[in-house]
């Protein structure tokens, strides 16, 4: 009996995962909005208020990141992000070609491998590069006046440039990331999963031998 259009609810995102994801989403969005006001892109809160919001949100993000790192390592969740080169090319092909031919999504969000290889690279880059760069340059920015006491002599402009580069990288990441969530099996599959924790995934069973 061939069964290739069945679907099954799989628990892919743990509660902490989901809570953390949405809090971080708000934090990053707030940091982005306030950061670009500080940058001079527009005027919304007024400079005094906006720096306060940016700084407090930054501290909440730092707290959050620290707590989440702790959670990843005590629960073994970090394994989701270990990059595996194996199937990245398959996914790259899917997003650039296969998707338009209506090929099925090559990756299955199973409990222990919810991120497909392409996502792993991207999110790992996000976590290991952009966030640490933003946190470090942000803290350098914040404590700029105290840096000479620690023997660090950077110009404020230099710190601001690094932080701004990170911010633009993050902005682009954010845009693409939001768009990518719509590329699941249906437009809302991924977003729904991040809210409920469950994803309906296709169960593709091995094709039985011909003539069976």
């Amino acid at each position: 009996m061939i069964e290739n259009n069945g679907s099954q609810k799989v628990y892919v995102y743990k509660r902490y995962n989901r809570v953390w994801h949405w809090i971080q989403a708000i934090q990053i969005a707030l940091l982005g909005i306030t950061g670009f006001e500080i940058h001079g892109s527009f005027s919304l809160f007024g400079f005094e208020r906006v720096t306060k919001i940016h700084d407090i949100t930054a501290w909440s993000l730092i707290f959050m990141v620290a707590f989440t790192i702790f959670w990843y390592f005590t629960t073994g969740e970090w394994k989701h992000y270990v990059p595996s080169g194996e199937k990245a090319s398959v996914h790259l092909r899917y997003y650039t070609l296969g998707m338009f031919k209506n090929e099925p999504h090559p990756g299955k969000n199973k409990e222990l491998s919810r991120l497909n290889p392409l996502q792993r690279f991207t999110y790992l880059g996000f976590k290991l590069l952009i966030v640490p760069v933003m946190v470090t340059t942000g803290l350098l920015y914040m404590f700029y006046n105290d840096l000479p006491a620690f023997g660090i002599n950077l110009s404020l402009e230099f710190v601001a440039i690094l932080h701004t580069i990170g911010a633009f990288a993050l902005l682009s990441f954010f845009l693409v990331h939001v768009y990518m969530t719509t590329t699941g099996q249906t437009v809302f599959t991924n977003i729904k999963a991040m809210i409920t924790g469950y994803e309906e995934i296709e169960v593709v069973e091995p094709e039985p031998a011909a003539g069976d």
């Binding site: 509660r15 720096t51 306060k52 338009f100 911010a167 902005l171 682009s172």
Partner: protein, 561 residues
């Protein structure tokens, strides 16, 4: 599992609280930042952040241990000021000798760093230009009696004027053209004005001497430049009894400081000099050990004086005054422009003209030319490290458009500099067009050379330059000049300080280069590349999404089997 859920719940809840708190801060907590537009009446005197409180308390008996009215020396008729001084010196034996050492007496100052000879005796400015040859008028603000010309005896003890600083009755007045003396017989001034000056009760004044006050210092310093509010912009008669909004320190509703609360004297020498200022006090609080200048803000407030650490991070580059004196001349207009070149115009009958604006402020005077007054003026800003040099007789370049009367030194890369607020005073004045130097006119006097007698600039400059000891080419022209006055007084309530937005968003300090100011500055290359990258992402999404949409239409819904 349940425990774990609770833990996540707590963590999530905590973070939500943090976020909500930050939004609330954004929305409401900083409403006081908008106080610039608040009606002044709602500003209440605030608890001060300074480390030293020296407040006068009128409810207590006087701090002095001496009642001068009981001293026999003072119970006599005094015919002249010097007679009073002689009586003072009988007990205060060293007072005159102390005064002789001070700038208030010598009017001479040698800048230890630049070697320039300054002081009122030497400086050429763009108000009444210079003292030499004009003494009897100018020296009505000298702490002495009889400085009528350059032959004044600067060693005379009895010619020290004790009363001008120590009067508490408010009656003591030096006659404007009396070379420092009050009147001893009834005189009229200004001539023809009908304003009569009567001899003073010197005995009563002498018996009521006391500490200096805003009134005694102000009698000269509020009237610099020849009239009320002319010169400084941050010192004028409204500072004698200032409202809290005008000056939080000196207001009776605030700290009720006298001038000497900050300009602390030692041996009659008063601290805080404009000739050699301090751009950035890195010593901080002056108790128990002073750095020699207790008049800086930091001397009382310390090096990180504000409650907000982010604001404290500004003090290495922004002088306190820059934010806390949002505007100067807030309650009385100050002179901003003085054009000597138009002086001398007379009416049909050959009489002098005085023109006034709607508020009664003189805008033209035959003796002095045209004036422009302004009230509530936004300062100019400048990098300043405390060092000031004066042009005086230094020749300037041929064809110079404007000549600086003084130069305030400093720059963004100089660690002693900060951004300071200044009054910029401009004018047009005569100069020696042969030597390309500023020129000193002989203005006041009964002789024919005095400009205010014969209105002849040629004669006046010839005489003035000779008195100043300058070599005069004999030719004169008119030149525009600028003088800068660092602002220190008229500290507004903190709610009215310059807002963050003023500089970071609205361009108040746009002229000040050399610092990176978030909000105002950004690297164009980084900015444009970043914006490009973000647009690239948007375009990528649109194109990718477009393909998906088209293929979805062609092949059935994406993901559908």
């Amino acid at each position: 599992m349940n425990q774990r859920r609770t833990a996540y719940g707590i963590a999530g809840g905590l973070l939500l609280v943090l976020i909500i708190a930050s939004i609330m801060i954004g929305a409401g907590m900083f409403t006081d930042s908008a106080v610039a537009s608040m009606p002044p009446a709602s500003v209440e005197p605030q608890a001060l952040t300074a480390n030293i409180v020296m407040q006068q308390d009128d409810s207590k008996p006087p701090a002095s241990t001496a009642d001068h009215s009981q001293f026999e020396e003072l119970q006599q008729e005094f015919a002249t000021g010097p007679e009073v001084t002689a009586a003072c010196l009988r007990c205060h034996t060293e007072a005159a000798a102390q005064i002789h050492e001070t700038l208030h007496w010598t009017w001479e100052y040698v800048n230890p760093d630049t070697g320039q000879e300054l002081g009122k005796k030497n400086v050429i400015n763009n108000y009444c230009v210079a003292i030499d040859s004009n003494e009897p008028r100018c020296t009505s603000c000298h702490v002495g009696y009889g400085y009528a010309n350059d032959e004044f005896d600067f060693t005379s003890e009895n010619n020290v004027d004790c009363l001008v600083c120590h009067d508490t009755t408010g009656d003591y007045k030096k006659f404007p053209v009396g070379a420092g003396h009050p009147v001893y017989e009834t005189k009229e001034f200004p001539p023809g004005s009908g304003k009569m000056w009567e001899p003073l009760d010197l005995a009563n004044i002498a018996q009521n001497v006391g500490a200096t006050s805003r009134n005694t210092c102000g009698a000269c310093h509020f009237y610099g430049g020849g009239g009320a509010a002319v010169k400084h912009g941050d010192l004028d008669p409204t500072m004698a009894n200032p409202s809290y909004e005008l000056d939080v320190h000196m207001s009776p509703d605030g700290e009720n400081f006298t001038c000497a609360t900050c300009h602390v004297e030692d041996s009659h020498s008063v601290s805080g000099s404009r000739y050699q200022a301090i751009g950035k006090d890195t010593h901080g609080v002056d108790l128990p050990a002073s750095d020699g200048n207790p008049a800086t803000c930091e001397s009382c407030h310390g090096l990180r004086p504000m409650q907000d650490e982010q604001l404290n991070d500004h003090v290495d580059q922004i002088a306190c005054q820059t934010c806390h004196i949002p505007t100067y001349a807030r309650e009385m207009q100050t002179k901003m422009w003085w054009d000597w070149s138009t002086a001398g115009r007379k009416d049909a009958e050959g009489k002098g003209i005085v023109e006034k604006d709607d508020n009664g402020w003189v805008t033209y005077d035959t003796k002095k030319g045209d004036f422009v007054w302004e009230k509530n003026v936004t300062p100019e800003y400048i990098w300043f490290n405390g060092t000031v040099t004066y042009t005086n007789l230094e020749p300037f370049a041929d064809g110079a458009e404007t000549v600086p009367i003084n130069v305030l030194h400093g720059g963004p890369d100089d660690p002693d500099s900060r951004i300071w607020p200044v009054k910029l005073f401009k004018g047009i004045q005569p100069y020696d067009s042969g030597n390309n130097t500023l020129a000193v006119p002989h203005l006041f006097g009964k002789d024919e050379n005095a400009y205010w007698k014969s209105y002849d600039w040629g004669l006046a400059l010839e005489a003035g330059m000779a008195a100043y000891g300058a070599d005069y080419s004999g030719e004169y022209g008119w030149i525009e000049t600028e003088m800068l006055w660092p602002l220190n007084h008229m500290i507004a309530p903190k709610e009215q300080a310059v807002s963050c937005e003023s500089c970071h968003e609205d361009g108040l300090l746009d002229g000040m280069e050399g610092v990176y100011m978030p909000g105002r500055d950004h690297n164009e290359l980084v900015h444009n590349t970043g914006v490009g990258l973000a647009w690239l992402a948007v375009v990528g999404i649109v194109v990718h999404g477009g393909f998906r949409f088209r293929n979805g239409r062609k092949n059935g819904k994406n993901g559908e089997k």
